[in-house]
Symmetry: C2
Subunit: 193 residues, 2 copies
């Protein structure tokens, strides 16, 4: 499997971490988002969504969307429970992350860290929703070690990817002690620091 | 099963259509988004994400996120293929819809139809991304009847929900003949008009 990704992207790291954790061999094909390498004719011919991460299997089949990829790779591993409803609760987190977290927390980080905007230049509505997403995580971790069920799953992988980088987007994790401890647990499970 | 939903929301209709199609019995609990009924303490106590649609099963278990719900309901039906990779290609569409389509096409519709904004008042960046999403669908339907694989699946259910209403957000489907025919096929499969 080839992973087309940019290491500055939490979405791409989700795929690397999941492949590493389940032991799925891969080669990493670096794609530079900032240089527009996801929008070249050659890239679009292979991946018409024009996004990273995307994967290509040895038989030529391709798959995009970070959470679709990690869900596929995690099948049959400890990262995805077997029970149908337990899987649905994982999916609930995966869709929530892409709709209610990433567009706010990750995009604020992108604006500050990669487009050079100041904290005060962040869009007010985006900051409010990012704060709300981080509050929701802190609330959900009350009395729980992991987001979905009793063990570390791809729900944690997906949500931690940008939550651990939230300070780079001007958010304050010091106010969220349960979240900080959960991030440390996730990083330990993923063997990243 | 109780479906908490608002019939003005395509996300909620996805769940109704899927339950109807697979024959899963339900009662519909009307929630008025415009009156803030997703943000009341009672609603948040049951569904802390504060969103519709959400479902509650007879044993009290709950599930949110439209695409997580329809994926759960569709298991074992014609709406979700059995093969793991075929399911991943469905998931790719589900995540793409929530990240790259709904925030543009559905939100423009909401602004025009429910907040009373004029077409010219739409945010330029949101319109551009909505046009891009609709172009992607038209492109993907070249030589294909359905979005994921050879038959009607929840990928079609998810994407058609707001695509069929795109004109209410100021988008022009007349320029997209393949999309219009696909919408008609979806509506026929769902027995809606």
């Amino acid at each position: 499997m080839k992973i087309y990704g940019d290491a500055i992207s939490g979405n791409c790291l989700k795929v690397k971490w999941t492949a590493d954790t389940v032991g799925h061999p891969y080669s990493w094909v670096p794609i530079d988002i900032m240089k527009g390498e996801t929008r070249t004719p050659a890239y679009l011919a292979k991946f018409p969504q024009g996004q990273v991460p995307a994967v290509e299997f040895e038989d030529g089949r391709t798959l995009g969307q970070s959470n679709a990829i990690i869900r596929f790779l995690a099948r049959g591993s400890k990262l995805l429970p077997e029970d149908g409803f337990a899987q649905a609760k994982v999916d609930e987190w995966l869709f929530w992350e892409q709709y209610s977290h990433e567009p706010y927390v990750a995009v604020c980080r992108f604006h500050m860290k990669y487009l050079g905007k100041a904290k005060a230049e962040r869009e007010v509505w985006r900051v409010e929703r990012g704060e709300g997403a981080l509050n929701y995580i802190e609330h959900q971790l009350d009395g729980r070690d992991w987001l979905a069920g009793a063990s570390f799953t791809i729900a944690d992988v997906a949500v931690v990817a940008y939550t651990r980088l939230a300070d780079e987007g001007g958010f304050n994790l010091d106010e969220r002690p349960r979240t900080r401890k959960w991030i440390a647990r996730c990083e330990s499970s993923l063997r990243i620091h």
